[in-house]
Symmetry: C2
Subunit: 433 residues, 2 copies
């Protein structure tokens, strides 16, 4: 059954992930050939700095001209691990136009231009696979796209950024503040020098857009994803969370509305119960919880980043794309037939944990409760405590029943207008119950 | 792109799973058609008792003649949810011979005759998919077969039987004995009237054979799987486990030997550390932990049984097989190219927790330690305690370093020959460290 002409692979980018892909393609060539039904060969490697020594890679394969490489015409599969929007987008488009299929690990590009890239792939009858773009080595895109293809996904709830999970886990387990935990993450290499993309939720938002699109068979753009970072989370929030039997995680949440007619996608820190499977996800690990109508609750757990895990996902896709080429077929393409509208954050319905600094005198609770009632937000529990510091202040913690984000915003605005409310110390959503 | 001739599906079996498959095929027909690129239609349902009322199924589709149904010639996909070896095996073979692809949820059949069935499928150019055969709704076969196709799986460690996990979880959380926990599982419908297949590990062994075969690209027969049930696990074992910082789970373990040249597959109760992700799998849930060379540690978690979850897995396969038919392709077939030998249990290397009843007098520990040393089994810790009941007995708990099962068996036999050892109270393997 084995065909003899090898499939030719062009690798764009040879950093942490790319060099690991090249290494495994060499060391495990026989296994890959047996699983594909044809040998695969590295036919070119495009890099920015050709002078760097790349162990195990034939220097003759290395080029700085990525465009010429994808235009060669004899390339069967282009593996893009450059990241970023350009030149990756143009190179992938050019690759399709010159007859190649593409495997990409590029979450930013897929989140922003996935639809356009899928369109070119389909036009050219080629595959676009991108398992590595979300949650590293964890098989997630394929299970959502294929294993659950006969089911109706109602919710995806995930820890999809390892850096922020490392920081929040550290804060939870040691009582450290945000800055201290971030410093440790940076020192250990879990956070980049500029951690903005991670801690402000941009990275997770790109993944949420991709996951929501696949889960709901609907086009979800990056702009559709509500995003809130985790830089405001304090040690005090973790104390509050513990009192609720919860911890705090930065979650990517994609939900189908109760009536099924619309979807939402959002990224923000949230309290989740300690007995929820996501609560025990430690360190830089990722995990994604999926709720489907027939399947029930599933969870996928593993390393969300790193050279080897990401290379594993890239190579799984490479084998699939090569098998398709050998079999003369293409894999499942883009599926956005459902075309559900993406609702704004105001329509999201969840529970809230609100800490208020209030005047320590009679009648305050009644005033506060009235504000909630006027906005149709029902209170689950209230905890009131004097601060004992003689300045006449107390704190009030309110946990609500389920309410829309718009109603809650109305409540918060009105609370800020009350004389007796000195400040809204924190607002945190409560998920996973 | 939508073709108009519907794909015809024959359903063999209409019990808990089959009726749910039929229901979803009807209620979600539009979604399935959009995802496949062609409508699918239920063309026949083979049952044993046609008189039973089957809500939502056209009585004209129901037949007792399954053989005639699979021989009709116009059937594109046969969904087999009868279970057991015969008539399922003959029906599936006949289906292939008459041009159909097959989706099956039949773990016993796949474990016993998977190779032969795959051979017929390949001969006929048809697909055989069976995600539902292992761990219900949890996407596992597809991730192992496809997502990890570019990686090297070294170990699969799974809770793949919900009944036994329910019983062990109950024993752990309440201190109940085996019989009491089994009675509760039976009362709640988690255990069958005859629980043998579950509690003796036969069900898990079939799944271990299937998982090992896929993970290692090697033929693993049911007979190759070492099997030990969990009926001997006692409340005292859980107390011992807690002292070790462990709990007890019935595990299916598929491992590649350290030198990579052979594999093993086994099912038995084992202690695992409380901080291992599998330790917190509650109730009847299933979870499978996979260790791969590049991907690292992954876990897949979800409901392992039940009509709806199993139907979700069956329908995911149905969509995949139908897509393949529309695209004129077949999915990845059987992969046993590695042909690694399956080693017997004696060659498995792990740690052991051994409880001995010994005479309460000086020199016993030295005697016992000598036996371990003579068999080359290194001791990690020993805990010795007098029983205070004045009968001159004490208990000795030995935890070993890693040793082969054959060496440990030699130790146990020799210990039984010592005058000072009154009995070997329990031997339990320690995994997941």
């Amino acid at each position: 059954m084995m065909r003899t002409r090898p499939l030719k692979v062009a690798l764009l980018g040879c950093g942490v992930v790319g060099s690991e892909v090249a290494r495994i393609m060499t060391t495990h060539a026989d296994d890959l050939a047996a699983r594909i039904g044809a040998p695969v060969e590295l036919a070119g490697v495009a890099v920015r700095r050709p002078s760097r020594v790349r162990e195990g890679i034939d220097p003759e394969l290395v080029t700085t001209d990525a465009t010429a490489l994808v235009k060669r015409g004899d390339i069967d599969v282009v593996v893009e691990v450059i990241g970023g929007i350009e030149p990756a987008r143009t190179l992938i488009t050019t690759a399709f136009e010159h007859g190649a299929s593409v495997v990409s690990a590029n979450k930013a590009l897929l989140a922003q231009d996935g639809a356009a890239l899928h369109a070119v792939a389909e036009e050219q009858g080629r595959d676009l696979y991108y398992e590595a773009a979300v949650a590293g080595a964890i098989p997630l895109i394929r299970p959502l796209r294929e294993s659950l293809a006969g089911d109706k996904v109602n919710r995806v709830l995930g820890i999809v950024n390892g850096t922020t999970n490392f920081i929040l886990d550290k804060m939870d387990s040691t009582g450290a503040g945000y800055q201290e935990a971030l410093d440790e993450a940076t020192a250990l290499g879990y956070a980049e020098a500029d951690p903005t993309a991670d801690v402000e939720g941009f990275d997770a938002a790109a993944k949420a857009a991709i996951l929501a699109g696949i889960a709901f068979h609907t086009r979800v753009r990056l702009d559709d994803v509500y995003r809130e970072g985790m830089t405001e989370v304090t040690a005090a929030d973790f104390v509050s969370a513990r009192r609720m039997g919860c911890t705090i995680k930065l979650l990517a949440i994609c939900e189908r509305a109760a009536d099924g007619a619309s979807v939402t996608a959002r990224v923000h820190p949230a309290m989740i119960p300690l007995d929820h499977p996501l609560a025990s996800v430690r360190g830089a690990y990722n995990a994604v919880f999926v709720e489907a109508e027939a399947a029930g609750q599933l969870m996928f757990y593993g390393p969300g980043a790193g050279g080897s895990p990401t290379a594993s996902a890239v190579l799984g896709d490479l084998v699939a794309v090569c098998r398709n080429l050998v079999g003369g077929a293409t894999g499942p393409g883009d599926s956005a037939y459902a075309q559900l509208p993406v609702s704004p954050m105001g329509e999201v319905v969840t529970r809230y944990h609100i800490s208020l600094d209030v005047a320590d005198k009679p009648g305050v609770l009644a005033q506060v409760a009235t504000v909630f009632a006027e906005h149709g937000v029902s209170i689950d529990t209230v905890r009131q405590q004097g601060r004992q510091d003689g300045n006449g202040e107390a704190s009030l913690v309110v946990v609500t029943h389920r309410a829309s984000d718009a109603s809650l915003s109305g409540v918060v605005e009105a609370l800020r207008g009350l004389d007796t409310v000195r400040g809204v110390a924190s607002i945190m959503r409560v998920e996973g119950e």
